[in-house]
Amino acid sequence: MTPARKQKLMIVGSIVLGSAVAVALMLYAFNQGLNVFFTPTEIAEGKVGADQNIRIGGMVKMGSLVKQGAGTTITFIATDTNEDIPVAYTGVLPDLFREGQGVVAEGRIDANGVFQANSILAKHDENYMSAEVKAALDAAAERKAAGGTP
C-alpha cells in the first residue's frame, strides 16, 4: 500500500470507528438525559407512564406550600388552573420560588400520585416566564375559553 492510501485508510477507519462509538454513546446518553415535559392536565389524563422521569410545569397554588417539621422536605401543589398535582421536594428552594408564580419541577410520580421532585426550577420572575410554564398556562386558558364561554 502506498503511504498516501494507507494514510487515507487510517483517516477513514478512525472516522468510522469514532462516529460509530459516538452514535451508540449518544443514543444511550439521550435516553438518560431526556425529560419530556407534561402539564398537570396531561398527568391527570393519565398520559404519563409509571416511573417515567419527566418535567412538569405550572403555577404554585396560593396557600399550598407546606414546610414540614424537622426535615427539609416541602410540599406544594402545582396547577395549570385546570388540574392540580401535589409535589414533594427535599432541599433548598430557589430564590425565585414563590406561591402564585410559575415553577418547573423535574422528577417522577410515586405510587400515591405525588410528584417527587429531584430539582425545582423557578428561574423567572413575572416579567419573564419560562416558555414551558407559559405553554402550560396557555393550554389551560384555551380549554377554559373553549369550554366556558357564555
Partner: protein, 671 residues
C-alpha cells in the same frame, strides 16, 4: 446632550465601518495601494468612535441619567458606583455595545500589529472585520439602541440592575467572554482572506496562531469566570450546569482548541489546510450563534436576555449573511488551498487529527443536545416539549475527554511525519507505570476508598503531568546544565505544556470534587451543629443587616476543627429594594485543597433555617487549571518567533511545499 453624542459617535462608527468593509477590499482587488492602506486609519477611527460611544453610555450610567431608557431599566441611584459602571453591559443593548467595542478593538489591534504582513492581506482581513462590525452596528443602532431616550416622562428613579448581576464575578465575566468570542473574528477574517487570495501557507498559519491563542485565552478566562460565578452566586454549589448559555460559550472554546492544534499542523507541515479554514470559520460562527441563542430567547435558560423575536430575526439575518456567505466561499475556494504532504502512522499529525476529531465530536454532541428541544418540537409539535439534562452531557463528554487526555499524554513524544511505535512505547512505559501506581494508590491512601472512576481520572491527570515532566527532562538532558536547557526552550513550548498541565489540573479538580464532595442540606436551629469530616459547622442564627440597596438576612455559621474555632462564615439572603428580588449569597472559605461552602435556604420557623453546608475538595483546582490554560495561551502569544521573524510572503511562496516542511521539521526538533 451626552447620550446624543454617544448615538452620534456610534453612527459615525457605522459610516467608518462601511468604508472599512469596502475600500481596502476594493483596493486589494484592483491593486490600489492607497485604498488598501486606508484599512489601518479607518480601523483606528472606528475604535476611537466606539470608545467614545461606550464612554457616553458609561457617563449616563454614572450620572443616573434616567432619561435614557436603558439606564432607567438597569440602574438606580442607590446602586454602588462600581455596579453602575458594570450596568453598562448588564442587559442586551449595552452588552451589544460592548461587543461591538471589543470587535473594533480587535480590528484596531490587527492594524497595529500587522506591520510584517503584506498590505493586501491586511486590507482583506480588515475589510472582513469591517463587514462584521457593520452588521452588528446596524443591529445595535436600529433594533437595540442603548441611547434611546424617555424624554416625555423621565423617571426619577431607575428600576435597578438585576441583583444576580450585582457581583464582581459577573461584572468581569462578559468583557472576558466577549474578548474571546469576538477575538475569533480575527482568525475568521484571516481565513476569509486566505480563501479570497487562495494563498494559505506556513506564513499564513504563523500570523493566525497568536490571534487565535489570544482569543482562546480570553474565552478560557471568560468561561471560568462564568462557572466561578454560578458556583458562589447561584447558591447551589455547582460549577457547571450544561445550561444552554454555558453550552454556547463552551462550543466555540472546543472548536477554538481544535483550531489551535490544527493551525500547528498547518504551519509546520502544510496539511489540514481546508480543515483549518473550516475550523476558523466555525469558531467564530459558533460565537455568533451563541450571541443569537442568548439574545433571541429561543431556548429557556438561567441567564438569557430579554425576549424579542424581532431582534432575533435581524440577528438571524446577520448570521445568514456572514456565516452563510463564508461557508459558501469555503465550498467554492477550499480546493485551491489543498495541502500535499503525507504523514505516517503514530506521527504527530495523526495525534493532532485525533485531538481534532474528539473536540469536534464533543462540540457536535453539545450542539445537538442544546438544539434538541427545538428539533423535537419541530417534529412532534409543541405539546410534548422535552429538555436534555446533564446526564446526557456527562455520559457523552466525560469519555471523550478521557480519550483526549490519554492521547494528549501519548502525543507528547510523537514526532512530525513519522514516529516509530517503539519510540513511543519506550518513552511512555515509565510514565504509564508511575501514573497508574500513583493514581490508584493515592485515593486509597488519602481517602481510603475504592472509586474506579476517580482513580481513572487521577491516572489520566498523572499521565499528562508525567509525560510533560519526562519531555522536559529529555529536552534538557544533553544541555550543559538543566537550567540552561530549560531557558533555551521557547515560550510557545512552555505555553503548550502549561496549558496541557492546566488540563491535568482541571481533570483532578473536576474528578475529586465530584466524587469526594460532601453536600448536606439541613434544617438548623440556632446553636445546632453538623459535622462533616473534621469540620463542625454551628449555626448561630440569622440577623437582619442593611446593605446599600438591599436588606440582608445574615446568618453566622461558626466552623471549628476538633473543637477549636476556625472561621466564621456569613451566608446571606438579600432582598433588593427596587425590584423586591431575593438573592442568595453563599459564603465560601476558599482553600487550595478544599472549599467550605455555606448558603442559606429558607426559614422554617422558630429561628431555624435550611442551611446548605458543603465540603468540596479540590474545587479550586477547576479554576486554577483554567487560569493555567489561559496563561499558557498568553505565553504562546508572546513567543519570539511571532514577532522577530519577518516573513516575506514572496519568499515563502517561492519555496516548494517539501522545503517548507523540512524547515518546519527542523525547527520542531530543536524547539
Amino acid at each position: 446632550m451626552i447620550p446624543e453624542l454617544g448615538n452620534f459617535a456610534a453612527m459615525l462608527a457605522l459610516c467608518l465601518a462601511v468604508l472599512q468593509s469596502v475600500l481596502p477590499l476594493a483596493g486589494a482587488f484592483t491593486g490600489n495601494r492607497l485604498w488598501m492602506g486606508l484599512g489601518r486609519p479607518l480601523s483606528a477611527g472606528l475604535w476611537v468612535f466606539m470608545l467614545l460611544a461606550f464612554s457616553c453610555l458609561a457617563y449616563a450610567f454614572l450620572h443616573d441619567d434616567f432619561s435614557v431608557a436603558y439606564v432607567a431599566r438597569n440602574s438606580n441611584t442607590a446602586l454602588p458606583v462600581y455596579y453602575k459602571f458594570a450596568g453598562v453591559w448588564g442587559a442586551h443593548e449595552g452588552s451589544l455595545l460592548l461587543w461591538v467595542l471589543i470587535l473594533a478593538g480587535w480590528g484596531y489591534a490587527v492594524s497595529l500589529f500587522s506591520d510584517k504582513l503584506p498590505l493586501d492581506i491586511v486590507a482583506r482581513v480588515l475589510s472582513v472585520m469591517g463587514m462584521i462590525t457593520t452588521g452588528f452596528l446596524l443591529f445595535l443602532l436600529f433594533t437595540s439602541n442603548p441611547f434611546d431616550r424617555l424624554l416625555l416622562n423621565t423617571p426619577t428613579e431607575g428600576a435597578d440592575l438585576n441583583p444576580l448581576l450585582q457581583d464582581f464575578g459577573l461584572t468581569v465575566h462578559p468583557p472576558f467572554l466577549y474578548m474571546g468570542y469576538v477575538g475569533f473574528s480575527v482568525a475568521f477574517s484571516f481565513a476569509i482572506a486566505a480563501l479570497l487570495t487562495g494563498r494559505l501557507d506556513a506564513a499564513w498559519a504563523r500570523w493566525t496562531r497568536p490571534w487565535t491563542n489570544a482569543a482562546w485565552g480570553f474565552l478560557t478566562i471568560g468561561i471560568a469566570l462564568g462557572s466561578w460565578w454560578s458556583y458562589y452566586e447561584l447558591g447551589w454549589g455547582g460549577w457547571w450546569f450544561w445550561d444552554p448559555v454555558e453550552n454556547v460559550s463552551f462550543m466555540p472554546w472546543l472548536v477554538g482548541t481544535a483550531l489551535i492544534h490544527s493551525l500547528a499542523v498547518t504551519e509546520k507541515r502544510g496539511v489540514f489546510k481546508s480543515w483549518t479554514l473550516l475550523l476558523a470559520i466555525s469558531a467564530f460562527s459558533l460565537s455568533m450563534l451563541g450571541a443569537f441563542i442568548v439574545r433571541s430567547g429561543l431556548i429557556t435558560s438561567v441567564h438569557a436576555f430579554a425576549i424579542d423575536p424581532e431582534r432575533g430575526l435581524v440577528l438571524l439575518t446577520i448570521l445568514l449573511v456572514i456565516i452563510g456567505s463564508s461557508l459558501f466561499l469555503y465550498a467554492l475556494r477550499a480546493p485551491v488551498v489543498k495541502g500535499s504532504a503525507t504523514y505516517g502512522a503514530n506521527s504527530r499529525e495523526v495525534f493532532l487529527l485525533i485531538n481534532n476529531i474528539l473536540l469536534v465530536v464533543a462540540t457536535a454532541m453539545i450542539l445537538l443536545g442544546t438544539l434538541s428541544p427545538l428539533i423535537h418540537e419541530a417534529i412532534y409539535g409543541e405539546a410534548n416539549r422535552i429538555s436534555i439534562g446533564p446526564p446526557y452531557y456527562n455520559i457523552m463528554f466525560i469519555p471523550l475527554m478521557a480519550i483526549l487526555a490519554f492521547f494528549l499524554g501519548a502525543s507528547t513524544f510523537s514526532r512530525w511525519k513519522k514516529t516509530s511505535l517503539q519510540h513511543l512505547v519506550s518513552n511512555l512505559k515509565l510514565v504509564l507505570v508511575a501514573s497508574v501506581t500513583l493514581g490508584i494508590v493515592l485515593p486509597l491512601a488519602v481517602a481510603s476508598s475504592f472509586n474506579p472512576s476517580a482513580m481513572l481520572a487521577l491516572v489520566l491527570a498523572f499521565w499528562i503531568v508525567f509525560s510533560i515532566v519526562k519531555d522536559l527532562l529529555d529536552k534538557t538532558a544533553n544541555k550543559a546544565s538543566r537550567w540552561q536547557g530549560l531557558l533555551g526552550l521557547g515560550r510557545s513550548y512552555y505555553g503548550m505544556q502549561l496549558a496541557h498541565f492546566g488540563m491535568a489540573v482541571i481533570i483532578t479538580g473536576v474528578c475529586l470534587t465530584s466524587h469526594y464532595s460532601i453536600e448536606q442540606d439541613v434544617r438548623m436551629a440556632p446553636g445546632e451543629s453538623i459535622t462533616i469530616n473534621d469540620y463542625t459547622f454551628t449555626f448561630g442564627g440569622v440577623v437582619e443587616r442593611p446593605g446599600p440597596n438591599y436588606t440582608a438576612q445574615s446568618a453566622t455559621v461558626d466552623v471549628s476543627i476538633d473543637g477549636e474555632a476556625y472561621i466564621t462564615l456569613r451566608p446571606e439572603k438579600r432582598t433588593y429594594h427596587a425590584r423586591g428580588d431575593v438573592q442568595t449569597e453563599a459564603d465560601i472559605q476558599v482553600g487550595f485543597f478544599r472549599d467550605l461552602f455555606t448558603a442559606l435556604g429558607d426559614p422554617r420557623g422558630d429561628g431555624a433555617w435550611v442551611v446548605r453546608v458543603h465540603v468540596k475538595p479540590f474545587v479550586f483546582w477547576i479554576w486554577l487549571g483554567a487560569f493555567l490554560m489561559a496563561a499558557g495561551g498568553a505565553l504562546a502569544v508572546m513567543d519570539k518567533r511571532y514577532r522577530h521573524k519577518p516573513v516575506l510572503l514572496a519568499q515563502q511562496e517561492a519555496l516548494p511545499p517539501t522545503a517548507d516542511s523540512i524547515e518546519a521539521v527542523a525547527k520542531v526538533s530543536h524547539s
